[in-house]
């Protein structure tokens, strides 16, 4: 909708239907590359539909959630489609900000998309959001720094390497480094001088974030919260997570191989400056790292020696707001962007992020333009998304869980005892879950 005083909005809608059948859809999303990709999708969409105009409003990434939440909460009819981060789908649905898609769209989504990405868009049995793309995390390693420390680098994808689908499957299923190996290699690189006389050994890109660290417990077979989402007790403070959090604590407090505080994007910066030997980070860093002079490789996401592989997944979704006066048109656009061949092709070509449709994932596997490095990283990501990806839990209290998790793991890195920090996190989550699930 165009922006009109509320008093005259009703009048304007009335006039619009009688006079000229032009519908304007407004999408609220984040600034940057994603917006550019959405503009390309919208441009193609509008070419075929003269009666619809798609407008894109954007907010800076850091303020997106706060400001969009305010607009959604005030029932702003000016927003028809909202760019939705996977884990907030449940809260948006529970708060009545977004409306579910009908059964036809839901069935089509189930048929066309990988299962975890449908699960993450579903709340209370209904599909509320359609995924635009997914994400994957890999291990970046600096070959020269590892060799100089006497460590044999992991097997991985390197400059000039070629990896066919079988090679990727073998690498990911049998040749994955363990967190224990990471620790040994990091100790060899840092000595006790990490960050001072010697480079840091290892870091996670998103410091203490749930998205990034969920695979630690996941690899040891534990969820974060119970299946009914009512409690984190005996999950987040259970045996598996205690072991995982102890490994995390040791990174800082025993081995001193990882910096205690990392701002956004700093891990990749340090890696390309040769100040960091290994980091687990998103595949979005590949281009920047490949441009640097670092002799690096990319290996599958690590796992614990006595655990299974688990990797982060999930990214942005598109939802129709409850306040949208043109819900049918908005639904049609969301369907086009997330499910149609044309829409998903444009999105993938423009943004080059891991797709969620089986069609595109099959294409990445079969198409030999993904054999060579660094395109082969996309093939590795596609493999992970179908075999090891673990979606973030669906809970109304996800924001609280994420905050409690971040607080706990930041505190642990700063020397708070693992048991104490996890117990505090469980308490805060349980309290929030109880409050939000009042009847």
């Amino acid at each position: 909708m165009t922006r009109l005083p509320i008093l005259t909005t009703a009048l304007a809608i009335g006039l619009a239907t009688t006079a000229h059948a032009q519908t304007t859809l407004t999408i609220l999303m984040i600034e940057g590359l994603d917006k550019g990709a959405m503009e390309a999708v919208a441009a193609q969409y509008m070419q075929d539909r003269a009666d619809v105009k798609v407008e894109i409003q954007s907010l800076p990434w850091n303020q997106f959630f706060q400001v969009s939440e305010m607009r959604l909460k005030s029932g702003d009819a000016a927003v028809d489609l909202i760019y939705t981060d996977a884990p907030v789908v449940a809260a948006y649905a529970a708060n009545g900000y977004i409306q579910p898609f009908d059964a036809a769209v839901a069935d089509e989504a189930k048929a066309k998309l990988v299962a975890p990405s449908v699960t993450a868009g579903t709340y209370d049995g209904k599909l509320y959001s359609l995924p635009m793309n997914s994400s994957a995390q890999v291990l970046y390693y600096n070959v020269d720094l590892l060799k100089a420390a006497g460590v044999t680098p992991p097997n991985g994808l390197t400059k000039g390497s070629v990896a066919n689908p079988d090679a990727i499957a073998t690498l990911a299923s049998t040749d994955r480094w363990t967190f224990e190996q990471i620790a040994e290699a990091a100790k060899a690189v840092s000595g006790s001088e990490g960050g001072k006389a010697k480079p840091w050994g290892f870091a996670f890109e998103q410091f203490a974030e749930l998205y990034q660290l969920q695979p630690l417990g996941g690899s040891l077979g534990s969820d974060l919260i119970s299946a009914d989402a009512m409690t984190a007790d005996s999950y987040l403070n259970g045996e598996a997570w205690t072991k995982a959090a102890t490994w995390w604590s040791d990174l800082f407090n025993s081995w001193n191989v990882s910096p205690r505080s990392l701002g956004f994007g700093e891990a990749a910066q340090m890696f390309t400056n040769g100040q960091l030997a290994m980091f687990v980070g998103g595949t979005w860093n590949v281009a920047a790292v490949a441009q640097s002079s670092i002799n690096f490789g990319i290996a599958p996401h690590p796992k614990f020696a006595d655990g299974k592989a688990a990797t982060p997944t999930g990214s942005w979704y598109l939802s129709v707001t409850k306040a949208s006066p043109d819900a049918a048109a908005a639904t049609d656009f969301a369907h086009y962007a997330a499910l149609s061949d044309q829409g998903t092709d444009i999105w993938f070509d423009k943004l080059n992020q891991l797709p969620t449709t089986n069609r595109l994932l099959d294409k990445i596997n079969a198409d030999n333009s993904f054999d060579a490095f660094p395109a082969s990283v996309m093939r590795l990501s596609a493999w992970e998304s179908r075999n090891t990806a673990v979606a973030r839990p669906v809970t109304v209290a996800f924001s609280q869980l994420q905050d409690a998790f971040r607080t706990a793991f930041t505190d642990i890195a700063n020397g708070v005892a693992v048991d104490e920090a996890l117990a505090t996190a469980v308490d805060s989550y349980d309290q929030a879950a109880k409050r939000l699930n009042r009847k």
């Binding site: 708060n95 009545g96 924001s399």
Partner: protein, 289 residues
């Protein structure tokens, strides 16, 4: 006092009062009203004072209240004292003062988020300050990640950003003091220290009251550095009430609890500001009727 010409009163007061009524008071009213509501199962529900009663038994709220009080007990006197010291230096007439005056104005134009980004780099364990301290054999200190230091680091950053701003108000206040008074005292042999305590400060009282009230208000509501640097940690040591409210409202979508916290915070603020008025505003010599 003067008779009040009605027309003139309306003319002078209406623009400000109308603006404040529409763009402050009315939204404030709506916000207060929101503190009586909550969301249950996706539906908005009126719960009266329920949000406030919940706070009474909420350990996180009380801990956060203690942090807020301690934070303000330190930062406000510190900022006002430093701003006053800067203001007194600012008005000195010495060779080279023009340059110093210029440098003192620097932080005014730097927005708080940018100041925080820069200071984070300064305070990191491997950062600037530890580099300098390491040069004389101290540290490294974990300024932002140790429960013993984090709150004071936040205070330091906010003070760096804030003192120049308050200095300007105090410099303005110093201008309003007739120089003859100071001059007379000097001739009578009062030391600079005596002149400061007996003449400058009492005459600066209205400006000091203004700066103190405005500064206390801003610091009670300050949360951006906490939000950007520590997220309330480590161990809740920097979790000021306003951050707790912000998190409740905008991260957790629990606007009812957030507004209830804000109301408590503002009530507390009013009490403190009331005391400041009591202590500082009795001063200006009024003409006897």
């Amino acid at each position: 006092m003067n008779r009040s010409p009605i027309k003139l009163l309306v003319l002078t007061l209406a623009p400000a009062l109308l603006g404040l009524a529409v763009f402050r008071a009315y939204p404030i009213g709506l916000a207060l009203y929101e503190s009586l509501y909550t969301t249950i199962g996706g539906e908005r529900a009126f719960i009266g004072l329920g949000n406030y009663l919940d706070l009474l038994t909420d350990a996180g709220f009380w801990k956060s209240l203690r942090v807020t009080l301690w934070f303000n007990l330190i930062i406000n006197p510190l900022q006002v004292a430093l701003a006053l010291a800067l203001a007194l230096m600012f008005v000195q007439k010495l060779p080279g003062m023009a340059v110093f005056r210029l440098l003192f104005l620097i932080p005014i134009g730097i927005s708080l988020p940018v100041a925080v980004i820069i200071w984070r780099i300064v305070l990191l364990p491997e950062g600037f300050l530890n580099g300098v301290l390491g040069g004389v054999g101290l540290g490294p200190y974990r300024f932002l990640t140790s429960p013993d230091f984090a709150l004071y680091s936040i205070i330091a950053i906010a003070t760096w950003k804030g003192v120049s701003y308050w200095m300007i108000f105090l410099v303005g206040g110093l201008q309003n003091i007739p120089p003859e008074i100071g001059e007379a005292a000097r001739l009578e042999g009062a030391s600079p220290w005596q002149r400061l305590w007996l003449i400058t400060l009492p005459l600066l009282r209205p400006t000091l009251l203004f700066v103190l009230v405005a500064d206390v208000t801003i610091n009670f509501l300050l949360f951006a550095p906490v939000f950007m640097l520590t997220g309330g940690g480590p161990r809740g040591s920097t979790n000021v009430l306003m951050y707790e409210a912000y998190k409740s409202g905008f991260v957790f979508g629990d606007m009812g609890r957030a507004m209830a916290i804000v109301v408590c915070l503002v009530a507390l603020l009013l009490v403190i500001v009331g005391i400041q008025f009591r202590l500082l505003s009795s001063a200006p010599p009024k003409e006897t009727p």
